[in-house]
């Protein structure tokens, strides 16, 4: 196989202390070989990074370790003994724990109940609650066992998953993109916990897109591409660029900002004391948000998930109506207008959730094109009739420009992988060259190459005279593309500051609540 030749052993692996050793693991889904004879060895006390683009087969591989998927070929040995891990319960019994990327928590249940579900015999709930308190405080991740998960912010939810793992006294913890929902400070705390675990002899298999993190905390890295192991290396001896190159196979283009002093024009999107009550018990109230986005610039809103980003997006896009003067587009007040009215006035919106919100799962891509663009002067609709031919034309153009990969022509939205669908929903709006673009999490779950493409397109759109507002939880992304940065925290928005003088520390402080003061000031 191709991977064999260019594999190097950057680090001598001690033969003793191998905890988990996978040999030739293969998994096939229909025609696709998700994992092709993957070899991977994890040592005791090692933080081992698993790197790869979307669809490289990382999740498939760890699901086989955790017993959620059964391998079609190959063998796993655990502490020197060949084992068949046929269920998650069996994996947990061996000492393998997992923290999922999309949390596997039950929102309607309490913290203690969620944790009890992961144990075959949790015993007395009161004793379990006491254990949760003790262990979570010991590791600096305090939890209230009686809190209902639905009421908790994302950072705390991840703690539940981690504490649930720790209570099982695991020998190996698998973490799937753990920092994607954390503030920089919360991530630092997580790294301390991981380093402590490693020093206690527990191994960690760490999946992440963030190469700086991998370099900072991981001892060893295995890189997957198209289901095969292409490299193993010591990440501390690599650069972020060289790691990215190994993942993608070619050079990854960073975004190029040709014009560091963009020609800033008039204000095209203005939020004036935008206030909106919480519509349900789990929503966030927006409290007096002020922001100007001007022609030629990209303004980014940073913040930890669940601090009002979704509510802000809904108010700006028109899914939730507010006072007319609270949202102004070029032509004036529109806070009480619907989304189509705003689209007709040259604004475009990309929501966070691509499947079910950004696109209708059961409809073809060309039909999804019509859904957001029927009223925007593309000629898709005339005298009440729709032109599907034209829609297919636009769909083809998006496919080509944004490299949307599909198995056959014009498939249903649900058949696309997450990253590909994201390219489509962002591309659909970019294709219009809107004067005002608001996008929530533009590159969530998109691989490095495609993310760079989308980011470059956002910058180019701004430089051509549009106003671009990006809501993102990815600070690397924000620093890459934003001209000005504001931070949202519990429904307050801090003033937008120049990206060149903004620091991560300051963003972290604003995320943690200083935005409220800064917004009020």
């Amino acid at each position: 196989m191709a991977g064999e030749e260019d594999r190097t052993h950057a680090q001598k692996r001690p033969e003793t202390g191998t905890l988990l050793d996978a040999r030739g693991l293969t998994k096939r889904f229909g025609d696709i070989l998700a994992n092709d004879r993957v070899d991977l060895a994890i040592n005791t006390g090692e933080i081992h990074a698993l790197l790869g683009e979307n669809g490289a087969g990382k999740s498939t591989l760890v699901k086989m370790f955790y017993g959620s998927l059964e391998p079609d070929g190959g063998a796993i040995s655990w502490q020197g003994r060949t084992v068949a891990i046929t269920s998650p319960a069996e994996a947990r019994a061996l000492g393998i724990g997992m923290v999922f990327q999309h949390f596997s928590l039950f929102e309607a249940l309490t913290v203690a109940e969620n944790i009890a579900l992961a144990f075959p015999k949790p015993g007395n709930m009161r004793k379990l609650a006491a254990r949760i308190r003790e262990v979570s405080e010991d590791y600096g991740l305090p939890l209230d066992p009686d809190a209902v998960v639905a009421d908790l912010p994302v950072g705390i939810r991840q703690r539940i998953e981690i504490v649930r793992c720790l209570l099982q006294e695991p020998r190996l913890i698998i973490m799937d993109e753990p920092t994607s929902v954390l503030t920089p400070q919360e991530a630092d705390r997580l790294f301390l916990t991981l380093q402590r675990l490693a020093s206690e002899g527990c191994a960690v298999l760490y999946i992440s897109h963030r190469l700086e993190e991998v370099q900072r905390i991981c001892h060893h890295a295995t890189i997957l591409r198209h289901g095969k192991v292409v490299r193993e290396c010591d990440p501390t001896r690599e650069t972020a660029a060289s790691l990215a190159r190994m993942m993608v196979g070619t050079e990854v283009m960073g975004v190029s900002i040709t014009d560091h002093e963009p020609a800033i024009g008039r204000t095209r999107l203005a939020l004036r004391n935008l206030t909106s009550p919480a519509t349900n018990p789990f929503a966030t109230e927006l409290r007096g948000i002020n922001l100007d986005v001007r022609a030629g610039e990209v303004v980014a809103i940073a913040g930890v998930a669940g601090n009002g980003q979704g509510e802000l997006f809904d108010a700006v896009s028109g899914e939730v109506r507010v006072g007319p003067d609270m949202v102004c587009l070029d032509d004036g007040p529109c806070g009480n207008r619907d989304i189509t009215w705003r689209r007709r006035r040259n604004a475009a919106f990309v929501p966070e959730e691509r499947l079910g919100h950004g696109a209708v799962p059961g409809m073809k891509l060309s039909q999804n094109v019509i859904l957001t663009r029927h009223g925007t002067g593309d000629g898709l609709s005339s005298a009440g009739f729709l032109s599907s031919k034209m829609a297919v034309g636009i769909e083809q153009r998006i496919k080509k420009t944004y490299d949307v990969r599909m198995s056959h022509d014009d498939p249903e939205a649900r058949s696309l992988s997450g990253g590909n669908l994201q390219k489509f929903v962002v591309g659909r709006e970019l294709d219009r060259k809107p004067g005002i673009l608001v996008v929530n999490q533009p590159t969530w779950g998109v691989d490095a190459g495609a993310a760079a493409l989308i980011r470059q397109a956002l910058i180019d759109l701004a430089r051509s005279g549009s106003a671009v507002l990006v809501i993102s939880q990815d600070l690397d992304e924000i620093f890459e593309i934003a001209d000005r940065i504001a931070v949202i925290s519990r429904g307050h928005l801090s003033g937008a500051e120049d990206a060149r003088t903004m620091t991560r520390e300051r963003i972290g402080l604003l995320m943690a609540g200083d935005a409220e003061k800064a917004g009020a000031a």
Partner: protein, 304 residues
């Protein structure tokens, strides 16, 4: 007089209570079975037929439970194995039950029925007023209360209940943790079927001991509504069922007194009153949201 009214309230409420508590368990597991009416009427006709043929009320009850379970097993096969649409399958189950029961019951129309005996609990049943009302009921009234208490305990105090609620809240996570979503749901649906069958038996063996076509008269639908308006909480179902029973009986008396209110309005009153009151008590949106099974009605297909 008041005593007699109370007695009729209890008999009017019991079938609703039994059917609703079964459906509550089904919905807590994340499945919406709209076939309650169909399973209930099958329980009624099979229970009546078996009791009539064997002369044993108990055998009739057991057969009714079996009939409800058989109907629900069909539903479970359709929605869990074939992954059909739950709403359509449930409606089909009701239509099937109504038709099939009419066919089976044709021979039993006008045949005198068998009434389940009342249990006289020694000494207690001799108490004035309380005795006849509380301690002189047929066995199924006590069974209904035992079911509510048992289900409530099971749901919120046992591991089985925790797993059931977790499957209803997030089937993907339950699956990822290694619980068998299909198995849990299958058992829950069977329990719901058993309860609906039992409720049907109550109709034809205790409430009005005879067979009349379509005799459940929409009580299966009321049971479904009760579950929703009770925010999936067992003791609230009791409140709803008894309120419905009380208003039903009151309207009979009102008609007998001849208040000059149109009878159509009076007979719609129990439905109206139950819904209004339950809407009011479910006004606490937070509580309702937390108790609503988030996966209700969503089909589950495990990864390969």
């Amino acid at each position: 007089m008041f005593e007699a009214v109370l007695l009729t309230v209890i008999t009017a409420a019991t079938p609703l209570l039994i059917a609703a508590i079964g459906e509550l368990v089904v919905e807590r597991s994340g499945v919406l079975n709209l076939g309650v009416e169909g399973m209930m009427i099958m329980g009624a006709v099979v229970g009546f037929a078996v009791a009539n043929q064997t002369g044993s009320g108990s055998l009739g009850v057991v057969a009714a439970i079996g009939a409800g379970m058989a109907m629900s097993a069909l539903f479970a096969f359709l929605v869990l194995v074939m992954v059909t649409n739950q709403v359509a399958s449930g409606l089909a189950l009701t239509i099937l039950g109504l038709g099939l029961s009419g066919m089976i019951g044709e021979a039993f129309i006008g045949v005198p029925g068998l009434k389940l005996p009342e249990l006289h609990i020694p000494f207690l049943s001799d108490l004035p007023f309380i005795g006849p009302v509380v301690f002189q009921q047929d066995a199924l009234v006590y069974v209904a209360f035992a079911l509510v208490a048992g289900v409530s305990y099971m749901l919120f105090r046992t591991r089985m209940g925790l797993v059931l609620r977790s499957v209803g809240d997030n089937h993907a996570s339950a699956h990822a943790l290694g619980y068998s979503v299909i198995k849990v749901r299958f058992l829950a649906i069977l329990f719901g079927g058993a309860c609906a069958g039992l409720a049907g038996a109550y109709m034809s063996l205790a409430y009005t001991p005879q067979w009349v076509e379509n005799m459940t008269a929409g009580r299966g639908w009321i049971a479904l509504a009760l579950v929703v308006f009770a925010s999936w909480l067992p003791w609230r179902v009791v409140a709803g069922a008894y309120l419905f029973g009380a208003v039903t009986v009151l309207t009979f008396h009102a008609q007998a007194q001849g208040f000059g209110i149109p009878s159509q309005f009076l007979s719609s009153l129990p439905y109206l009153a139950t819904i209004v009151v339950l809407v009011l008590i479910s006004a606490n949106r937070r509580l309702t949201l937390v108790n609503t099974p988030a996966c209700l009605g969503k089909p589950f297909v495990p990864d390969r």
